[in-house]
């Protein structure tokens, strides 16, 4: 599908043109320009029903939001709320799950999950009186459809974004500069790292029965990084694009593979989605099952992450993946208090070695779950697990992943991990505020690196969910 994504040539034509028009446009009509551009961006996917679905979700949510706010009775409010949520969920279920269940061809539903979730959070915030409904239909439509976050999030709360989208615009060169740099970095992560790792991962996971041992282990670890660089690369490009319009979107990743527990992993990975399922699935369940105390919390976690797995797609692999994370978190609810006591008794609570150990264990637990997420089937996943520690007799470099690619990855991943440790972040600030010749040299190096090392890859992985 020749579509406009952030790493496509069409986007590099679309965005500068939009930016110029935005600068030239009168302030009172800028929202309309961005709205038209967002629908145009969505329409460029060449899936005719998607813009219509977006318009429908906008209308349903706008009308039910205003009805909810205007209604005087608690019963009436809940009726409006559940009507809006129910209608949005019905749209999502019909498009995403019905074709698979009915044995029909699956439909393209890029972006639908993300703006439906935002619509639900908008209605919930109105019901809980955290925010008032937006009265201007155009402004509300822009909030849901704003193109940098349209296809893969971040899932933004209305109060955070609508105000900024409709505020009078003043060009700020620092915002523009940092936006372009963040975008370029995201592009580098996607086209140089993620798409390169995909060569190896796809070769191995595409034909698992050919491999045993080390290639399976490497492919799993590589997939963990491929998914991270792909999704966080997308997020950076979204954040960078939005910054050029003075909009700060939510950071969606915070060095997730440096987490020292699975709970911490979920505070660092796909942050906007984690917060959404925490607020709208986990907390209500935990409240409903509070009489079961710890067991209630554990059960809420399992159900929440099973739902998360199902959201990713209609496959047992996703269900098992979600279930595994639910089990990880549920068991931690029981053992964490004991673990803390033991660490304290041993005097190793602040030990760096303990942190390294916990990071390595967490990373491998997450990777174990990724096996189910990535494998083409459950039987492939079980084959991989059963053959991870056998000796290998297949060449490592296959399927188009060469020694050169290994060198590129071997150079980038450790540097990236290093750049994300707390110590190095103290060093990076002076670099970013360095004299112009040094800064520009780094920018040129980044641009040249993207051009030379890019891999002609495919779509963004999370656009499929």
């Amino acid at each position: 599908m020749d579509v406009m994504t952030f790493n496509s040539i069409t986007y590099f034509l679309f965005f500068p043109l939009l930016f110029v028009l935005f600068q030239a446009c009168r302030d009172r009509w800028r929202w309309a320009l961005l709205l038209a551009a967002s629908f145009g961006f969505y329409g460029a996917l060449k899936v005719p029903w998607l813009p219509a679905v977006l318009a429908l979700v906008i209308l349903i949510t706008y009308v039910t939001g205003r009805g909810l706010w205007a209604c005087g009775t608690e019963r009436g409010k809940r009726l409006w709320f559940w009507t809006g949520v129910g209608a949005n969920l019905l749209i999502l279920l019909l498009l995403k799950y019905l074709p698979a269940v009915a044995g029909m061809q699956t439909l393209v539903t890029i972006g639908v999950s993300y703006y439906v979730f935002q619509a639900i959070s908008y209605l919930a915030d109105i019901l809980l009186e955290i925010a008032e409904p937006e009265h201007h239909l155009g402004h509300f439509a822009l909030y849901l459809s704003f193109f940098p976050k349209l296809l893969q999030g971040p899932i933004e709360r209305a109060g955070h974004v609508i105000l900024k989208l409709t505020k009078p615009y003043v060009f700020v060169s620092n915002m523009a500069r940092s936006g372009m740099l963040i975008f370029a970095w995201g592009l580098f992560k996607k086209v140089v790292v993620a798409d390169r790792l995909a060569l190896f991962v796809n070769a191995v996971y595409g034909d698992v029965h050919v491999y045993t041992g080390l290639p399976l282990v490497l492919a799993t670890w590589f997939y963990a990084f491929q998914l991270y660089f792909d999704f966080s690369g997308y997020t950076d490009m979204a954040l960078g694009s939005a910054r050029l319009f003075n909009i700060n979107l939510t950071q969606n990743f915070n060095s997730p593979y440096l987490a020292t527990s699975v709970a911490e992993f979920w505070r660092r990975w796909h942050i906007s989605f984690s917060r959404w399922i925490l607020d709208y699935i986990f907390k209500p369940l935990q409240m409903a099952w509070r009489d079961w105390r710890t067991a209630g919390t554990a059960a809420s976690l399992v159900v929440t992450f099973l739902a998360s797995g199902i959201w990713h797609g209609v496959s047992w692999g996703f269900v098992v993946w979600g279930g595994l994370h639910g089990v990880y978190l549920a068991t931690s609810v029981y053992y964490r208090p004991w673990q803390k006591k033991i660490h304290k008794a041993l005097g190793i609570t602040k030990s760096p070695l303990l942190k390294v150990w916990q990071t390595v264990v967490t990373f491998n637990l997450v990777c174990f779950a990724w096996i189910f997420f990535r494998a083409n089937s459950l039987s492939d996943a079980f084959y991989i697990i059963g053959n991870l520690f056998r000796t290998s007799n297949t060449p490592l470099w296959s399927g188009g992943f060469s020694k050169f690619d290994t060198l590129v990855i071997a150079g980038i991943i450790p540097v990236y991990l290093l750049l994300n440790t707390p110590i190095s972040q103290k060093i990076s600030s002076p670099v970013l505020s360095a004299p112009m010749p040094l800064r520009w040299s780094l920018y040129l190096l980044l641009a040249a690196g993207i051009c030379i090392l890019y891999e002609q890859g495919g779509y963004f992985l999370y656009s499929g969910f």
Partner: protein, 300 residues
């Protein structure tokens, strides 16, 4: 503030273009050296991975006493190769006496080798023959236009690797390891090997290639670099049909010679790293024999 930002942006864009041209020129030089486009070759080897792994270009050059260009691109189909031959003759019009063109069962199979093999020719977009070929095959005008503008986008892992090798004068290209015959037999029984087909379009472009080479007063060696006999026997009838096409060309034109090394080598499994590619030992032995046979031709 906006004007200052735009001025900086334009200066930065200019610097990117300068850097792009500079680095691309260096890479181009390395790639030219790797493919032998920087020398006045008397022997031009054209092909895909069979040639890349099957012929030791440096050894061939030493053995023949004549400059040899090994212009082989992974997955190059008949259309790619015609563009490559035209390219070489445009760059070095009067030097080539012998074109060694690797042929195999899939010489006339349309799809299958690599639908995107033309991308490996991107670095040569400045030459009209390659530009025309790429334009005809590029997925979209945007793909083509972006690479016309930014030369570094013309390179990928493969061509970058080759350009670096050319710069470092490291021309060796071989694989170690041995073919797993049992695995191959399983593949063949499971029907997982690509079928051999003869498509008229491919036959015509091959005929055009023969005409082109002969019109430039060079002799054409149709070189069947060996593949494992199990692969050749998979569809014996079709294999013979393809070989017969090459034999007929050789019979009809004394300037076309068909060298088939399958009878000599295809049963020596220790010489193959996979069913269709020679390993280091195989490369050595095939190159030695090729030196002997091509030397005789150069003397004639």
């Amino acid at each position: 503030m906006m004007k200052k930002f735009l001025v900086k942006l334009m200066i930065f864009a200019g610097l990117i273009l300068l850097l792009d041209r500079g680095i691309a020129a260096l890479l181009q030089r390395g790639l030219d050296r790797y493919y032998g486009l920087d020398k006045r070759a008397g022997v031009l080897c054209i092909g895909h991975s069979h040639t890349m792994l099957g012929i030791d270009g440096a050894k061939l050059e030493q053995g023949l006493g004549v400059p040899v260009a090994k212009y082989a691109v992974n997955g190059a189909n008949a259309f790619d190769r015609l563009a490559m031959i035209r390219h070489y003759f445009a760059v070095r019009p009067d030097t080539v006496r012998l074109v060694v063109y690797d042929v195999d069962d899939h010489a006339f199979t349309g799809a299958g080798l690599s639908a995107n093999s033309y991308r490996l020719l991107y670095p040569y977009l400045e030459t009209p023959d390659i530009a025309r070929h790429v334009r005809d095959n590029a997925g979209s005008w945007k793909e083509y236009a972006a690479r016309r503008l930014l030369r570094l986008l013309r390179y990928n892992s493969v061509t970058l690797n080759l350009a670096l090798r050319g710069t470092l004068r490291r021309y060796d290209n071989f694989k170690t390891g041995r073919v797993d015959i049992q695995a191959l037999k399983n593949e063949i029984s499971a029907g997982r090997r690509p079928p051999v087909t003869i498509e008229q379009e491919m036959v015509e472009v091959f005929a055009e290639t023969v005409r082109f080479v002969r019109s430039h007063h060079a002799r054409l060696v149709l070189f069947s670099i060996p593949t494992v006999d199990q692969v050749n026997n998979m569809n014996r009838e079709r294999h013979e049909q393809v070989m017969e096409i090459f034999r007929r060309y050789a019979e009809q034109d004394p300037g076309v010679i068909f060298l088939d090394y399958n009878p000599t080598f295809s049963q020596h499994y220790e010489l193959f790293c996979d069913p269709i590619h020679l390993n280091r030992d195989g490369q050595r032995q095939v190159t030695d024999k090729a030196i002997h046979d091509l030397h005789r031709l150069l003397q004639e």
